[in-house]
Amino acid sequence: MPRLTPSFLRRAEKINPLLPLLLRACRDLRSAQNELRWLTEYARGCNSGAHPRWKPLLLDLCKHRSQGVPLQYLLGSEYFGELEIRCGPGVLIPRQETASSVSYLASRLRQGDFGDLNLNRLRVIDVCTGTGCIPLLLHRLLSRCCHDSSSLRLLGVDVSPIALHYATLNRQLLLDSLLDESRTMAPLRLDGIISSLLSMSFIQADVLPSSVQSQRSTIPQLLPALRHLGEPSWDVLISNPPYISSRAFATTTSRSVRKFEPRVALVPSTTNTCFRSKPELREYLHHVNQGVAKLEEGDLFYPRLLDLADEMSVKVCLFEVADLSQASRVSLLIRSREKWKSVEMWRDEPTLPPDGDGQEPKGSFRVLGRGCGRSVVCWR
C-alpha cells in the first residue's frame, strides 16, 4: 500500500479539508474524491427540509470512514449488477465479482449451455445467501427474458438472522419498485415477474452437518428444512460460502473487512461450524477428499455443498472461490466424485478476454475470463 506522505496529504487538504480523512481508507486521491462526492450527496439528501445541517453529518461520516468503516455500511447499500442492495453491519457487503459470475451464469443458462433446463420453471437455491443479492439478481436477469416467469422459483438460505432480515427487506424493496413500475408499464408483462418475486423466499438453516452438539442446535439443518417445505429437489445450486482460511484472514484480507464485516460470513473456522477443534476439522476434510484434492481449512463448505447437490438432484452448481488454487482443489474434488459431466473455472470477469497476467490452474480445466480465479461451475 502506498504511504501517505505529509506533502500529499497537504495537497489533498487544499482541494478539500475532508479528503485526508478519506485517504486513510481509500489510499488514492481519485477514489477519495469519488467517495467524498457520494458521501456529500448522501448527507445532503438525508436532512433535506427541516434541518439542513448536512455538514456536521458529513464530517461524522468521514470520520467513521477514516476508521475503516465500509462506505457501503455508512450509505446503507451497495450496487450489485443493475440492483441496489441494502446492507449494514452484520451482513456481508455484496461484491462486484459475485455479480459478474451471476450475470454470466444467467447468460449461459439462457444459451442452454447446461443441458435442457426449462427456464420458465427453473428452481434455484442459493445457499449462504447473505443480503439475498444472488437470487435477486438472478431473478432480474432470468425473469425479463422468459415468456412467463411466474413459475420461476428461487430460495435463499442462511444461518444468520441479520442476513435473513436484509434478504427479506431487499426482496420487499424490489417488489415495491416493480409494483410502481407496473403502474406505468404494460401490466401483463410484469405479472409473471412480480409473482415469481413474490414466491421467492428466504429460510434459516444450517448447511453444515451437526456431527457434534453445537450451540446452534435450535437452527434446523438444511435438508430437513427443505423436506418440511415440501421442496426437496432443485435444478441450480449457487453458493458463495465463507472461504477464507484463518491464515489468509490474518494476512491477505483487508483491514476494513476484518474489522467490520461478520467473520461468520468469511471464515469457515471452528467457531463458525460444528467442529469444536482443528484436529476434528482436519479429520473431516481427510475423510471427504480421500487424499485426492488435498483440501484445506478454507475449503470446508465445498464437499458439503456437493453432497447437498446430490441429495437435491441439482443439475448445475456455481461456487464462488478465493483464488485459482482453491478453484483447482474444488474442481479436482468435483472430478473425483464422478457425477459431473463438465467443470469450468471462471475468473473475476468471465466475459472479458484474458489479459495474460493470471496464473494457470492445475489439472487441465477450462478457465474463462480475466482476473483472479473466482468461481467453479459444474453440470451433469
Partner: protein, 425 residues
C-alpha cells in the same frame, strides 16, 4: 464579412417550437419580408430548370432513370414555383401601391393584402430552404456536450466550468431537461470549495446531456474552441490573459432501442453500430485477492474503441453497471460524430479547389468572450453582442449568437452543396 447578407430563415429555436418568432434582425439586412440566400436561390433555380428540362424529355420518351430523378427533385421544383408565385404576388401588390394611377378602393384592398402576402412569402421561403438543405442526420436527436479546458492552465479550467454552467442555464431557461453525466474536477488548489457534485469551480472535463429531441441541431454550432480574454482573479499585475476551452457536441442515442427507427444501434448494418468485439473493456479491479478479501468502492469502467483509439472512462456513479452504461452511451456518440466528421472531411477534400467553403472543425477557434469590452464575438458569423453577462448566463443574448451561427452554418451547407454540384459537371 461572411456570406451573403442574409436572412432569418425561421430560426433554430422555432424548429423545435420553443420560441415565439421575434422580429430578429441579423446583420440588419432584411426588412420585414424575408429573403432567401442568393446561393440557395441559385441552386433552386438550377434544380427547377433541370426539372422542367427532364419533364420535357420524359414527355418525348419514357426512361426510368429520368423518372426517378424527377421524383427526387420535384419537391424542390414545386417549392421553388411556390416561392416564385409568392414573390410575384408581393411584387405586384407593391407596384400597385407605388402606381399613382391606382384608384383608392384598389389601393386599400392592396395594402390590406400586403401582410398576408408577406407571410405567404416567408412560409414559401422556409419551405424552399427545407426542401433544399438536407437535415443533418443527427438533427432530431438529443445531445451530449463535452467541455474541456485547452490552453491557459487553471484559468482555462475555470472557464470550462463557466461554459458548462452557461449551457445548463440555457437549457434550464428553455425548459430542456439537462443532466451532468460526468464531472471531473481539475486538481487545482486555487478554487477552494471543489470536490462536490456540480460543475462549480475548475473542471478537467464535464459531459452534459440535454435530453430533448432536436437539441443536437440546436447546439451543434457550439462545437469548437471558445476563447476567453480577461484578467484572472489570481493575476496581481492586472494583465489580460487569453485562455481557451474546447466544446464538443455529440449525438445522444437512446439507451435502449426505444422504438426509434432512425437510429438502431443494435443493427450491425446501421451507421451507429459499435461492434462490441472492437471495444476493450477495463474494469477497475480490487487490489490483491479480491472477492471476500476486500470491500472496495471502486466502480470505474474504461472503454477503448480499438480501431480508432477513442477512450471513455466513467467513475461517477457508485454502480459499476451504471458507469458501464454511461460509458457506452458516450462512446456511441463520439464514434458517430467521428464517423460523420470523417465523411465531411472526405467531402471537403474532394472540393478543396472551391473557395469560400469553410469547415468548422473541433480545432477551430469559434468564439471570443472579451471581458474588458463586455462583448462576445462569434468568428464564423462575424456577429457580436455587447451583453457578455447575458451570454454567460445562458440568456437571450446567447440565443442570438447561436442563431447567427445557425444561419452561417446553413449558408455553408448550401455553398458546399452548390460547389459539389459544380464539381460534378
Amino acid at each position: 464579412m461572411f456570406g451573403a447578407p442574409w436572412v432569418c430563415r425561421r430560426c433554430l429555436f422555432c424548429a423545435t417550437g420553443l420560441m415565439r418568432r421575434r422580429n430578429l434582425r441579423f446583420q440588419s439586412t432584411a426588412a420585414s419580408d424575408e429573403i432567401v440566400s442568393p446561393a440557395l436561390l441559385g441552386r433552386a433555380r438550377s434544380v427547377s430548370a433541370e426539372h422542367s428540362r427532364l419533364t420535357q424529355e420524359l414527355a418525348e420518351s419514357f426512361n426510368t432513370k429520368t423518372a426517378r430523378r424527377i421524383g427526387e427533385i420535384s419537391s424542390v421544383a414545386n417549392a421553388f414555383a411556390d416561392w416564385e408565385k409568392a414573390t410575384d404576388s408581393l411584387t405586384e401588390l407593391h407596384s400597385l401601391l407605388a402606381d399613382p394611377t391606382t384608384d383608392a378602393e384598389l389601393r386599400s384592398l392592396a395594402s390590406s393584402d400586403v401582410d398576408s402576402a408577406q407571410t405567404a412569402l416567408r412560409a414559401a421561403g422556409s419551405a424552399l430552404t427545407t426542401a433544399l438543405v438536407p437535415a443533418h442526420p443527427f438533427a432530431s436527436l438529443p445531445c451530449l456536450i463535452e467541455v474541456r479546458p485547452a490552453a491557459g492552465g487553471s484559468e482555462a479550467a475555470l472557464f470550462a466550468g463557466e461554459l458548462v454552467r452557461m449551457y445548463m442555464a440555457l437549457s434550464n431557461r428553455l425548459g430542456w431537461p439537462a443532466a451532468l453525466l460526468s464531472v471531473t474536477h481539475a486538481d487545482v488548489s486555487t478554487t477552494g470549495g471543489g470536490g462536490s457534485d456540480d460543475a462549480a469551480g475548475a473542471l478537467a472535463e464535464a459531459v452534459l446531456e440535454i435530453k430533448r429531441a432536436g437539441a443536437y441541431d440546436a447546439l451543434r454550432g457550439e462545437a469548437g474552441v471558445h476563447r476567453v480574454q480577461r484578467v484572472p482573479a489570481t493575476e496581481k499585475n492586472g494583465r489580460v490573459h487569453t485562455s481557451t476551452a474546447t466544446v464538443m457536441v455529440l449525438p445522444s442515442f437512446p439507451e435502449h432501442g426505444t422504438g426509434n427507427d432512425e437510429v438502431n444501434f443494435e443493427d450491425p448494418n446501421s451507421d451507429y453500430y459499435v461492434d462490441p468485439r472492437e471495444v476493450r473493456v477495463d474494469i477497475m479491479r480490487a487490489r490483491g485477492a479480491g472477492g471476500q478479501h476486500v470491500n472496495t468502492t471502486d466502480s470505474a469502467v474504461r472503454l477503448t474503441h480499438e480501431p480508432t483509439g477513442i477512450v471513455v472512462s466513467m467513475q461517477d456513479a457508485r454502480s459499476q453497471h451504471r458507469n458501464r452504461e454511461k460509458a457506452w452511451h458516450i462512446l456511441r456518440g463520439r464514434l458517430a460524430a467521428a464517423r460523420r466528421e470523417a465523411r465531411e472531411e472526405e467531402a471537403l477534400r474532394l472540393r478543396r479547389s472551391v473557395v469560400g467553403v469553410a469547415k468548422t472543425g473541433r480545432n477551430d477557434k469559434v468564439r471570443t468572450y472579451n471581458y474588458g469590452q463586455r462583448r462576445v464575438t462569434d468568428h464564423r458569423s462575424g456577429f457580436t453582442v455587447h451583453d457578455l453577462d447575458g451570454v454567460i448566463e445562458g440568456g437571450e443574448a446567447l440565443q442570438r449568437v447561436m442563431e447567427s451561427v445557425k444561419a452561417w452554418l446553413m449558408d455553408q451547407e448550401i455553398k458546399a452543396m452548390v460547389s459539389e454540384e459544380e464539381a460534378k459537371k
